[in-house]
């Protein structure tokens, strides 16, 4: 009896950590970077551009095609070999890890600005365009416009963010505000009007009800109800273009904003207060994007300088790699099954 009791306790002690605190998912850290200073359409590409994955040694490994015009990218959550990239041409897709690529759109769609894959419906792909939003239900083999509810003008769409809690629930950052669909783009409605383009929308990795959005000249905004309502974040910089916002997967209170003109700003209290973290970065505060890796290291892409990283969330910086780059997107993703 006693033995059984101890065996039970032993089994419970092994199981408890799993039951009480499931292990954090393992993440992979990607960027899309252009190192194309002085490139004009038609010229030869002499640098390596496109998607890079950070390996365990901290080196950036190029993935897929050397594309100088990349603006955003996404993966199929089931299979890292299925890659989507947005570029001047529109949307490209690879099904084999980047060896072969297919342009997914025709001449009626151009200049893809963002792409997102629904983790709960991974065949569903959303494409942000300068004149609206396109949708595919078959991994971008076919694309169709899904814009009902978007305004006739003002639907320039810079950012897409998919709610990981429910299939078909997507937020779009447009010229005149944030739009929400809850039926995979069949219907959109405005949930936040803004006076200028919404540049980025992010969902907290810790609490799916918490969202942050930044805009080109209308400051930063926070939602605590899954994106239904938004409140302005007055402590965040708002007088210059904010390019992106990122959460820290290791700490629910930490966020960072990348801004052209205001550089890097961070918050360590969930977005209530914000601190200028540009000391140690090149002058000019020309930050294109910020990102946080799975270990909580903060990265900042300073345009045409290099990528910088900080182990203490912006208090001290050191150069990383990719001299001359502009990082167009940081992406932290749970590891895919394959």
């Amino acid at each position: 009896m006693k033995i059984r009791y101890y065996l039970f306790l032993g089994a419970l002690s092994c199981a408890l950590p799993v039951l009480s605190a499931p292990p954090a998912p393992e993440y992979e850290f990607f960027i899309a970077a252009n190192i194309n200073r002085n490139y004009v359409i038609g010229s030869k590409i002499v640098t390596t551009n496109g998607i890079f994955r950070r390996d365990v040694a901290g080196a950036w490994q190029h993935v897929g095609y050397n594309d100088t015009g990349i603006s955003a990218f996404a993966f199929d959550p089931r299979d890292r070999g299925v890659i989507y990239t947005t570029t001047t041409n529109g949307l490209w897709r690879s099904l084999d890890g980047g060896k072969l690529w297919r342009i997914c759109n025709d001449s009626e769609m151009t200049e893809g600005l963002d792409v997102a894959v629904d983790p709960n419906a991974p065949d569903h792909v959303y494409l942000a365009l300068p004149d609206g939003i396109a949708f595919s239900s078959d991994r971008a083999q076919h694309l169709e416009r899904r814009e009902h509810g978007l305004p006739a003008r003002g639907k320039f769409t810079r950012a897409l963010a998919i709610d990981r809690t429910r299939a078909g629930r997507v937020l779009a950052g447009c010229e005149i505000g944030i739009y929400l669909t809850e039926d995979a783009g069949k219907n959109w409605r405005q949930v936040l009007p803004t006076k200028d383009t919404v540049a980025d929308i992010q969902q907290s990795p810790h609490d799916p009800r918490i969202w942050f959005a930044v805009t080109q000249s209308a400051g930063a905004w926070r939602s605590a109800d899954g994106g239904l309502t938004w409140i302005h974040v007055p402590a965040a910089p708002g007088d210059r273009p904010l390019h992106n916002v990122t959460f820290d997967v290791t700490n629910p209170n930490r966020l960072a904003i990348g801004s052209w003109g205001r550089g890097v700003w961070t918050s360590e209290d969930g977005g209530r207060t914000w601190t200028d973290r540009n000391a140690g970065l090149p002058a000019g505060a020309r930050v294109w994007r910020v990102g946080v890796d799975p270990a909580g290291r903060l990265f900042a892409s300073v345009v045409e300088e290099t990528l910088f990283q900080s182990a203490d969330f912006g208090r001290a910086w050191r150069p990383d790699a990719l001299a001359g780059s502009a990082v167009k997107k940081f992406l932290l993703l749970p590891k895919a099954p394959k």
Partner: protein, 628 residues
């Protein structure tokens, strides 16, 4: 009188030298029209042969070293049947480092087709391989798309039934062809119903003419061949009605810093030389001209177009429509209409749009340009503008983020974009009205604008520039008298010339810029022919006598009677009135004038000169010629 025979060998040598000389270094051609059709055609063929000979001989490199041949030289050699093994070898070398967009695509298409039965299989295969391995940028402008899709269309036709994985696009030949065909048909349809976006460009005419020429010759589809051939006619008819002795004048959707001042320094001059023979070509046949030449002999310029281009005996006015480049943001319309006025006389031309933003960087809204017997090196033009520089304006047309764009465009062929003394570009704070050879440009510049002033261009080639007590500035350019009336105080700064949009430095060649630092502002220019007055003083007296009243606040407004007797009333933000009647822009046709006529939505252009008429009907894909 007996001619000394000993001079004959010398004259022959001189003649040979002149004949061997490239025309861009030779004497200015005659502007007298060649009425005889056979002689006209023979002269055209000689010009084509001149280009091909120059290019085949190494062009600017003047070398026989095959390692220095570029695709244009190879194209010329193929046409002439010279050194085909060397060409094949060089193609293989060049295809090892393919380019990345339409400016690479169409030259390779040119070689692929010209070399079909002349280059080695390995050379042809190297081109095909490059179209598999290297992703091609489609670009973001109208000319990019036309070049891209014309090239893709032809390559897909040349290699039909090939699978998706053999193309950079990941689409099969059939898919590539269908996509390209759909775009080309829609583009032609748009142009023939609501007008071109990149209208009257100084330098992009080749980017349209060359792909259209390829399609007109090489497409297997007779309908596409016909469409392309008719669009070439359309394009060249517009050039004919807009040029003065072969020199294109404003307005332009897109031009560059060199061409907007040295009006002849443009690719359109190459096409005028080639087609009309009435002005010299620019150096190296404008570069892209080398890709028009290989197929040029298959093009037969309609006589009616030739006559329009070369006959400036009578005055004429064209009122046409075009459209603004796509505005993704910050606009109520995606592509609003543009209303163009174009008044041509023997000695000068006056052209304008109604102002506002057209293209965010390279537009030119209005000017008076006079004829020069040799236009090379001359700056025969007068205009004013608001030097608008705005990242927001660029964001309306470009999807890139705003901040680096201003710096970026300055090394992408638009070096003056953020310069306060620039002389190129349109502005939302400029509104223009033209009545024959009178232009009224009004400016209401928003407070806080980066450059709160306007610039007026005064050429080094003006003579008798006189700042009159009346407030008018009088001058003479060629055989045109000009009166320029600034509506606010001004000062002068030197004009510094960019030789082209890619110029690295500016040159002080003479000329001045009238700079007027006032938000509410205006310019009136009245032109007249020298022959209309007994002398310059008489012209000045006539201008001084014109009834003129203006005010600048709260908004600029002008009421005047023009030299032609029309009473104009024009206030910024309102529709201008002529003799008490408001101008009804909405009623403007796609083309309306003595030479070009088309209805909006009509898909049919009637080209007329005297009794000659040619109708391009895209509804039926038919061309009808008639002598009335």
């Amino acid at each position: 009188m007996k001619r000394p025979l000993y001079l004959l060998p010398l004259l022959a040598l001189v003649g040979l030298r002149l004949a061997a000389q490239p025309s861009f270094e030779g004497p200015v051609p005659s502007t007298v029209p060649e009425i005889d059709e056979d002689r006209r055609r023979a002269a055209y063929v000689r010009r084509v042969d001149e280009i091909l000979g120059w290019a085949a001989a190494g062009g600017k490199a003047t070398t026989d070293d095959p390692a220095k041949l570029d695709l244009a030289m190879i194209a010329a050699k193929i046409v002439r049947g010279e050194d085909l093994p060397g060409c094949s070898q060089r193609v293989i070398e060049l295809m090892r480092e393919p380019g990345t967009g339409p400016f690479w695509m169409f030259p390779t298409v040119c070689i692929a087709y010209l070399g079909r039965d002349r280059l080695s299989p390995e050379a042809l295969a190297s081109i095909r391989t490059a179209w598999k391995t290297t992703r091609q940028q489609r670009g973001d402008t109208e000319n990019h798309f036309v070049m891209y899709y014309a090239s893709l269309y032809l390559m897909a036709e040349l290699y039909p039934d090939e699978s998706a994985e053999t193309w950079y696009s990941g689409r099969s030949s059939a898919e590539n062809f269908a996509e390209a065909s759909a775009f080309l048909i829609k583009w032609i349809d748009t142009n023939t119903t609501v007008g071109q976006g990149e209208f009257n460009t100084s330098n992009y005419i080749g980017e349209y003419a060359i792909p259209l020429s390829f399609l007109a010759n090489w497409s297997k589809d007779p309908a596409m061949r016909q469409r392309a051939s008719m669009m070439l006619d359309w394009l060249f008819a517009e050039l004919a009605t807009s040029s003065l002795n072969g020199v294109l004048r404003g307005p332009h959707s897109r031009t560059d810093e060199g061409a907007v001042i040295e009006r002849w320094q443009a690719m359109t001059s190459f096409f005028s030389w080639l087609l009309f023979g009435n002005t010299p070509p620019t150096a190296g046949y404008s570069g892209w001209g080398l890709y028009f030449a290989p197929l040029a002999k298959s093009y037969h310029l309609p006589e009616v177009t030739y006559r329009i281009a070369t006959d400036r005996r009578g005055d004429f006015i064209q009122r046409d429509r075009a459209r603004v480049r796509r505005l993704w943001r910050y606009s109520d319309e995606l592509s609003p209409p543009v209303y163009k006025t174009n008044y041509l006389r023997h000695d000068y031309g006056v052209g304008s749009t109604t102002g506002g933003l057209i293209d965010p960087i390279q537009s030119h809204v209005w000017d008076v340009t006079w004829a020069e017997s040799d236009p090379r090196g001359k700056h025969p033009t007068m205009f004013s503008l608001h030097p608008h520089s705005s990242s927001r304006a660029m964001q309306s047309s470009f999807t890139a983020y705003p901040e680096p764009m201003i710096k970026g465009v300055t090394f992408e062929g638009k070096p003056s974009y953020d310069s306060p003394d620039k002389l190129m570009g349109s502005s939302p704070f400029e509104q223009v009205f033209q009545d024959l050879d009178t232009v009224i440009a009004l400016y209401a510049i928003a407070p806080g604008e980066r450059f709160p002033h306007i610039n007026g261009f005064f050429s080094k080639d003006l003579i008798n520039v006189t700042e009159d007590d009346s407030g008018w500035i009088f001058a003479q350019g060629g055989r045109a008298y000009l009166a320029y009336r600034p509506l606010a105080s001004y000062h002068w700064i030197p004009y510094l010339h960019y030789k082209s949009g890619w110029a690295k430095q500016r040159l002080n060649l003479g000329g001045r810029v009238l700079t007027s630092p006032h938000l509410n502002n205006g310019t009136i220019v009245q032109a007249a022919g020298v022959g209309e007055f007994t002398d310059f003083a008489a012209f000045q007296r006539a201008i001084r006598a014109l009834p003129l009243a203006f005010k600048l606040d709260p908004l600029p407004a002008v009421e005047m009677t023009t030299l032609r007797g029309n009473k104009i009333s024009f206030t910024f933000g309102t529709v201008p009135q002529v003799n008490g009647r408001a101008v009804d822009y909405r009623a403007w046709k796609l083309f309306e004038g003595p030479h070009l006529n088309a209805e909006v939505g009509g898909r049919k252009l009637t080209i007329t000169h005297g009794r000659l008429e040619r109708v391009l009907d895209f509804n039926t894909l038919s061309v009808t010629n008639r002598v009335k």
